[in-house]
């Protein structure tokens, strides 16, 4: 059964990928890319990577697609016919693929429990992390504690992306200090959509909070929560009018919030130094090691969540307000 699902998903992935190469309507290509991500997310679930699947679904088929569509709206939606037969490209790709195939010949068989990858560093995480760090979700322990420094960098990567988008596109705060004009949403006439969206929103936010604070026990964490929260706000903006959203979450506020998120993460690390540990050594933050780790992970996940949430909305603003008078 597992094999069957695996093969079906892989087949669909191949078909989607091929379709993306040939299709020239960019809108379709973007939607196909979104489907590709969703299929990947399913594949990740079959391979036990639930956290990754969650993130891929939220980011790859969610936020990426929203951004792509927003950019498409600002640019051109049809690709020109390629002027020549790309033989060189085929050659480069062919050679690269063959080299890579050659390399995989010596890889351990798929799913082999005896592969070296499972026997050196990973066992300690699986055996010790509930005792050393606490959370039953090993991914959370590694992400936030053992390799917490990577995650700090990752938070700053998303922070950087947000700032880069703002620097390149700019956000014009037209209503700073002024009352907003009446609702001019494009979706105003879609009553069903508006009502459903309104009803869904509390659940979206509730789910985001659950993902934020329950990441220790199940799949999820600050990053996914931030993305979900931001998606809720984006739905709000799409159905009820973006000016209302801009009033509820002014962009200067979000900029501050993103910065605060990064500083919470960095500050947690600095606090460990002040209390006599190494950078990001949460064990020294509280009386016992486990309590300290718990507190540390809570704080850094909070920082990640805040930054991701605000940056996602800022990016959305930047694209959606671009072509304004």
């Amino acid at each position: 059964m597992e094999l069957f699902i695996d093969i079906t998903l892989l087949t669909f992935l191949c078909i989607t990928a091929m379709a993306i190469t040939v299709i020239r309507k960019l809108f379709c290509a973007v939607m196909l890319a979104s489907i590709f991500s969703l299929l990947c997310a399913c594949l990740f679930v079959t391979m036990d990577a639930v956290d990754v699947a969650f993130t891929e679904a939220a980011v790859g088929s969610g936020i990426s697609t929203v951004l792509m569509l927003a950019a498409l709206n600002l640019t051109h939606s049809r690709e020109k016919r390629p002027p020549h037969q790309p033989l060189v490209a085929l050659l480069v790709v062919g050679v690269t693929g063959i080299v890579l195939m050659y390399g995989t010949m010596d890889l351990p068989v798929f799913g082999d429990a005896a592969a070296p990858i499972h026997h050196h560093v990973a066992p300690r995480y699986i055996e010790q992390s509930p005792l050393e760090v606490g959370p039953p979700n090993f991914v959370t322990s590694i992400l936030a504690s053992y390799r917490g420094y990577d995650t700090l960098a990752e938070t700053i990567v998303i922070f950087t992306a947000g700032l880069s988008v703002i620097a390149l596109l700019g956000i014009r705060d037209r209503y700073a200090g002024r009352p907003i004009p009446s609702d001019r949403s494009a979706m105003k006439d879609y009553v069903v959509l508006r009502i459903v969206a309104k009803m869904l929103m509390p659940f979206v936010f509730l789910f985001a909070l659950y993902v934020q604070f329950h990441g220790d026990y199940g799949a999820g964490g600050g990053f996914q929560a931030g993305v979900i929260f931001a998606s809720g706000v984006i739905i709000h903006s799409l159905t009820l009018g973006r000016d209302r959203t801009l009033k509820a979450f002014p962009h200067q506020f979000l900029r501050g919030l993103a910065t605060v998120g990064v500083l919470i993460y960095g500050g947690t690390g600095l606090a460990s130094i002040l209390r006599g540990g190494n950078f990001l050594d949460y064990s020294v933050l509280a009386a016992t090691q486990l309590k300290g780790q718990h507190l540390g992970i809570f704080l850094v996940e909070l920082g990640v969540g805040l930054t991701v949430f605000s940056i996602m909305i800022l990016m959305y603003y930047a694209f959606s307000y671009r072509r304004e008078p």
């Binding site: 010596d106 070296p116 990858i117 960098a153 950087t160 960095g266 950078f279 990001l280």
Partner: protein, 496 residues
């Protein structure tokens, strides 16, 4: 005091959000400048520490080596850290006036924030002892670099940034594949641990083919990032259209850090024996390096945008660095490492001079240089001295690295390579001379402008770098000793 390694990166990394919080251009600049100076102080302290008491290790989160991420500072990365922080500490004072002219007011805090993040990314790549952490910081520095280049005034800055984004991401993805394959063979990401476990894989055994593929992908990825000929296509546009400050900073640091990554993976992880004797990296790199020196220098001669000319010259100079590596001898490696330092000094100075010209004249086409010898005497004098260093004239820093490179080629009796090195220098004479001739011997056809020197804020950092070019051309002991020491450490095959 024992937290020094982590603060090397944290200072710019956490300085960046602060930069954004203050929200005023000049205040942001102040924060960024202080962070960069602090970084320089820390890198000097680290170098001092490493040279006296040996390599330093710092466990982030207090998790021991293969389980957590560790910082590892040895001879090579202490030296590269010094190069990067020195350039940053000089670029930021230079930035204030140049940025005020080239970047819109609302974007200035963002600009400094991104510059600090780029600096933090580069430092993070160099200092870390973890392969995946290196990838993350590589992407951090690249991402901010794309945006910084895109902030250039001309519209071609945007296409240049996009081209760099595509090629850079392909490179980074290749590196990601390479790291993944290495990880699948060993189950570890720590650089020292990787080295010791890869050394256990015998040449004929299962796993060897994966190792070769990993090496191939890593080499192509790094070559894209360091702009090795013919994968350099992103570089000329990116350097030409980026804001002056960004060009100075990236030209003097980013490619050197990519060279560092190549060195680290070839020597410290895969081991020089495997890489050079079995996979003949030396022979693979030799041809592109020589082609870079000749072809890129020739192309530089025909450029009319002088920033573009210097960008092609950078491609050629990178050829000298990889040539040094491909000679696979102590002297060659040392020459390559030394040239990282010297090239940072000379290209930093030359691009700063370009920024100064662009500040007064508005653009840097060859025709803009007419009469500049009289109009901006100090800037042009600095350009001439930087140019002499680039050619490799005795008593300048550039001479020293070329000298060792020639020596390394002669040691193994490669006369043809020696000839190519010298031809490369001659070509540099030609393209620098074109500018000098225009500036000093081509009378202004308009009304005499009188003296209109660039402001001191630009001239002082410029002349500090020019001074360094001259100083290290005469008193060679410091960089030569450090490069030699780093080369020996690398050739021993392990991170010392």
């Amino acid at each position: 005091m024992n937290h020094l390694p982590v603060f090397q990166v944290l200072l710019p990394l956490l300085g960046a959000p602060l930069c954004l919080l203050v929200r005023r251009g000049t205040l942001s600049w102040l924060v960024a400048t202080l962070a960069s100076w602090g970084g320089l102080a820390i890198s000097l302290a680290l170098l001092h520490h490493v040279s006296h008491t040996g390599p330093i290790t710092y466990n982030l989160g207090n998790w021991p080596a293969p389980w957590g991420i560790t910082y590892h500072v040895d001879a090579l990365n202490a030296f590269v850290l010094l190069i990067v922080t020195t350039v940053a500490a000089l670029t930021l004072p230079y930035a204030l006036q140049s940025v005020n002219l080239e970047i819109s007011e609302e974007n200035r805090p963002l600009f400094y924030t991104l510059l600090l993040i780029c600096l933090a990314g580069l430092l993070g790549i160099v200092i870390t002892g973890d392969a995946f952490n290196m990838y993350v910081f590589l992407e951090l520095s690249s991402l901010s670099a794309y945006a910084l280049i895109g902030l250039g005034k001309r519209r071609r800055a945007l296409t240049a940034a996009f081209q760099y984004l595509v090629m850079g991401t392909i490179g980074a993805t290749f590196i990601l594949i390479g790291i993944g394959l290495l990880y699948s063979l060993t189950g570890t990401l720590n650089i020292q641990d990787l080295a010791s476990r890869i050394a256990l894989i015998p040449a004929s055994a299962y796993g060897h083919r994966t190792l070769i593929t990993a090496f191939a992908f890593l080499t192509v990825g790094f070559s894209l990032k360091l702009a090795l000929f013919p994968l350099h296509l992103w570089l000329p546009n990116a350097y030409t259209y980026a804001p002056s400050v960004v060009t100075v900073f990236l030209a003097a640091t980013a490619t050197k850090v990519a060279v560092y990554m190549l060195l680290r993976f070839s020597f410290s992880i895969l081991g020089s024996r495997f890489v050079f004797e079995q996979l003949t990296l030396g022979k693979i790199m030799l041809l592109p390096s020589l082609a870079a020196i000749i072809i890129a220098s020739l192309v530089a001669i025909f450029q009319y945008d002088i920033k573009r000319m210097l960008a092609y010259s950078s491609v050629a100079q990178i050829g000298y660095m990889t040539l040094g590596i491909s000679l696979h001898s102590h002297t060659g490696l040392m020459a390559g490492i030394l040239h990282m330092f010297n090239h940072a000094l000379m290209k930093g100075a030359l691009f700063m001079a370009m920024g100064a010209v662009s500040y007064r004249v508005g653009s840097v086409y060859l025709t803009d240089f007419r009469g500049l010898g009289r109009r901006m005497p100090l800037t042009m004098a600095a350009f001439v001295l930087g140019g002499l260093s680039l050619m490799g004239v005795p008593l300048t820093a550039g001479f020293i690295s070329k000298w060792f490179l020639v020596k390394a080629a002669l040691e193994i009796g490669w006369w043809s390579v020696t000839a190519i090195i010298l031809i490369g220098s001659l070509l540099a004479v030609i393209y620098i001379w074109r500018v000098v001739e225009t500036a000093y011997f081509n009378p202004l056809h308009e009304i005499e402008h009188g003296q209109e020197e660039a402001p001191l804020g630009l001239l002082i950092p410029l002349w500090v770098l020019v001074g360094a070019n001259l100083y290290f051309g005469i008193d060679t002991s410091i960089p030569v000793d450090m490069a030699s020491w780093a080369a020996s450490a690398l050739l021993e095959g392990t991170m010392q």
